[in-house]
């Protein structure tokens, strides 16, 4: 199994690290502090890459695997940043039966990343999402606030081309 370390170079600043370490110092001795610390870290960085989980593990004196286990158990935590263009494939029931799974797979292929990841240039990130309420247009994807409906996989390259800048 390939590792899940983000391909996006880490861009955290010393100020962010200090903010996180201060929070850890504040919460460390309270029971059940790991989740709040991780939530706070995600507020600071937007996601929880290995560099950040390492700070949390050392600060909280728990193995990094425990942090990672929590980060991958809860859907609220991201291992990758979000891109300039945030693509979401609706995997709700109506879109799914209309083939959104194939759209999602095509997006992964075109972007060269897996669901939940971000391209190293920080341009596109890809996630599956729940019903966005546009079932009449199924299958649907969203790119930031633009909605594209009634798609087939071959539509994907053309849509991505609109976001060249």
């Amino acid at each position: 199994m390939a590792n899940t370390i983000s391909a996006v170079p880490f861009q955290g600043t010393p100020e962010q690290e200090k903010q996180l370490r201060d929070k850890i110092a504040e919460l460390k001795n309270e029971g059940g502090a790991l989740m709040p610390v991780m939530q706070y870290a995600q507020e600071i960085y937007g996601y929880l890459p290995i560099e950040v989980q390492k700070i949390i593990a050392e600060g909280m004196d728990v193995p990094m695997e425990e942090v990672y286990g929590v980060a991958t158990f809860y859907a609220q935590f991201n291992l990758n940043p979000k891109g300039k263009y945030k693509i979401q494939t609706c995997l709700g029931t109506a879109c799914y039966v209309k083939g959104s799974g194939d759209l999602h797979a095509r997006l992964e292929k075109e972007l060269g990343i897996k669901s939940g990841e971000c391209t190293p240039d920080l341009k596109f990130s890809l996630d599956g999402c729940r019903c966005i309420g546009a079932c009449g247009l199924a299958p649907v994807i969203m790119i930031n606030s633009d909605v594209y409906g009634r798609l087939v996989p071959d539509d994907i390259p053309g849509i991505l081309a609109k976001y060249e800048d």
């Binding site: 199994m1 590792n3 695997e65 990672y68 991958t72």
Partner: protein
């Protein structure tokens, strides 16, 4: 503590309050099956195989975690419970790669045994995910194959709680749940210390050591190779278990006989080099004490501990003894002194070690472990792998005669054989150091303060006006406690023995498997340790410096302990490694 009155399967019983149903049933002579349960460290009620009926309860309860109370009526074996357990097993199987014919644990698998016990007839009753082989072979010592894992988390518990490493844990959730390392890196990319405790508690074939036997068979069949084998002290205390002998049986003689019949040219003993280790280590200790060197001196026999130190406490590296471990000293002497004396080209010597340990597989790949310019030890196999070789060779192990080790490197003292139990290296070193300090023969032979299976032991000895404070710890979680006390200045020791595995090598990660039930009810490490202490007591020579071959090697070759040549051949170096 007060007792409560309960009934199990209609039989009245008085059991201590606070017992679980599982413990109460055991008192009544009833075995409730368990999979995930490991006493004290994995009481999570996850696998549901121990479900029993309790009168008045809404549904079945998990016996491993459910406490008894006054008047409780428990039913452990009703048709409903039997059916539950069978379905439970079928569901576990639905997500387990069922390759029992070729599986390394076939015949020795707790899941397989329970399936037979509960009459599972169709292992494919539920289709499940049909997992494909999923191999992590990045570490030097072992394979992880999640396609066979049933998520009992016993490995996770020992890694975190016994060993303070916590490099494996449950990742993701639901059907995607799997045991892995942070960011799903390979075991070889994280701070795993190679101790193999996870293998010892794995109940299926998901975790196993990398095979070394193929290379050994090949060498044994090669007439140009002079194949020598060494056996660690703890192997003789456990090998018999793989052949159905009781835990705590000394099979030294049969082990030697089986190795000879497998075709090894020389059957030698790591006891010899354990004695040599004491000569070098006791010298190092006295030098550091006299010359104001870094103290406490910490033993270096356990490669799991060494790797832990390098990853987690690199600042303690100056405290480590520079002595190679007995395995490596043995290999070094074999390919230098022994080769020269017998006029054999070291390149034609194939040096095999049988160890209770998986970290030894890692150790012989380390840098600075090649006294003759080639690896000191060519292949390490575990006690389990030796048992497999003996079985394949068709040897009737139990009925083999007792035979003696070969000369000269089969010579070992009682001090060496106790290396395999926690406190043994300390005691062996003290036997020699005391006589060296006083300059008188006939010093004390038994140091009971450092014996026993407790995780941390301390003692103070005053010899010839010199007081030596010592500590002994086994299990890396205990080791960590002692290191923290040393670092904070709370404790001031001169000599410390650390062993990675709880109880020392007798409980090493390469020892024969025992099912969870035995782990939970038998003091395995204590029973095996008794073998070593009896073996020691029965020997005429019980001090390392009395070993005649060790004396001869210093006279003929190494000059004296701690000499320049001894340092070149018998000592090594360490390297700081990262934790993340």
């Amino acid at each position: 503590m007060a007792n409560v009155n309960i009934k199990i399967n209609g039989m009245p019983l008085s059991v201590p309050q606070g017992s679980t149903i599982l413990e109460a049933a055991r008192i009544a002579g009833i075995r409730i099956p368990t999979l995930c349960y490991l006493k004290d460290i994995n009481e999570i009620g996850a696998c549901r195989i121990c479900l029993v009926e309790v009168k008045g309860a809404r549904g079945p309860v998990a016996a491993c975690v459910y406490p008894v109370n006054e008047g409780m009526e428990v039913f452990t074996n009703t048709p409903k419970i039997q059916k539950n357990r069978k379905t439970e097993l079928e569901l576990i199987l639905s997500n387990h790669r069922r390759e029992c014919l070729s599986c390394v644990r076939s015949g020795d698998c707790e899941l397989q045994a329970l399936c037979r016990e509960y009459g599972v007839e169709d292992e494919t009753r539920f289709a499940g995910a049909n997992p494909v082989e999923d191999i992590d072979d990045t570490s030097p010592h072992m394979i992880r194959d999640n396609s066979k894992c049933i998520l009992c988390r016993r490995c996770v518990a020992v890694c975190r709680q016994y060993q303070d490493c916590g490099v494996i844990g449950p990742n993701e959730r639901g059907f995607a749940t799997h045991i892995g390392c942070a960011f799903d890196q390979g075991l070889g990319e994280v701070a795993c210390v190679s101790c193999g405790q996870c293998i010892n508690v794995c109940l299926v074939g998901a975790l196993y050591e990398k095979d070394g036997t193929a290379k050994v068979w090949e060498a044994l069949a090669d007439p140009t190779k002079h194949v020598v084998v060494q056996t660690a002290p703890a192997v003789r205390a456990a090998l018999g278990e793989a052949f159905g002998m009781p835990i705590g049986t000394d099979v030294e003689g049969k082990m030697v006989a089986s190795l000879r019949r497998l075709g090894f040219d020389k059957v030698f003993d790591t006891n010899f080099s354990a004695d040599l280790t004491i000569m070098e280590e006791a010298t190092e200790l006295l030098e550091r004490v006299k010359n104001g060197g870094t103290l406490p001196l910490i033993t270096s026999c356990s490669p799991g501990w060494i790797k832990y130190c390098e990853h987690y406490y690199p600042e303690m590296i100056p405290n480590l003894s520079s002595c190679k471990s007995p395995q490596q000293m043995f290999g070094a002497i074999t390919k230098t002194w022994y080769a020269k004396k017998n006029e054999i080209d070291p390149k034609n010597i194939f040096s095999v070690s049988v160890m209770p340990c998986t970290a030894k597989k890692f150790e012989n790949t380390r840098d600075d472990q090649s006294a003759a310019g080639i690896p000191d030890v060519d292949v390490t196999i575990t006690t389990r792998e030796l048992a497999a070789m003996i079985k394949r060779a068709g040897l009737d192990f139990v009925n083999l005669p007792d035979e003696q080790f070969d000369n000269p490197l089969g010579e070992g003292t009682g001090a060496a054989v106790i290396f395999g139990a926690t406190g043994g290296v300390m005691e062996a070193a003290l036997r020699t150091a005391v006589e060296w300090i006083t300059g008188e023969a006939g010093g004390p032979i038994e140091f009971n303060d450092v014996r026993g299976t407790e995780g941390i032991k301390e003692a103070a000895y005053t010899v010839g006006g010199l007081t030596v404070n010592v500590a002994v710890a086994s299990g890396l979680a205990n080791v960590r406690k002692v290191i923290e006390m040393i670092k904070s200045g709370e404790k001031n020791y001169q000599f410390v023995e650390f062993m990675a595995c709880p109880g020392g090598c007798v409980n090493g990660g390469g020892q024969p498997h025992q099912p969870g039930e035995v782990h939970n009810t038998v003091d395995i490490r204590g029973e095996r340790a008794k073998v070593l202490y009896s073996n020691d007591a029965a020997r005429e020579l019980r001090r390392s410096h009395e070993n005649p071959v060790v004396k001869a090697i210093y006279d003929e070759y190494l000059e004296k302990p701690g000499s320049h040549l001894a340092h070149e051949i018998l000592h090594t170096s360490y390297v700081a490694r990262k934790k993340y």
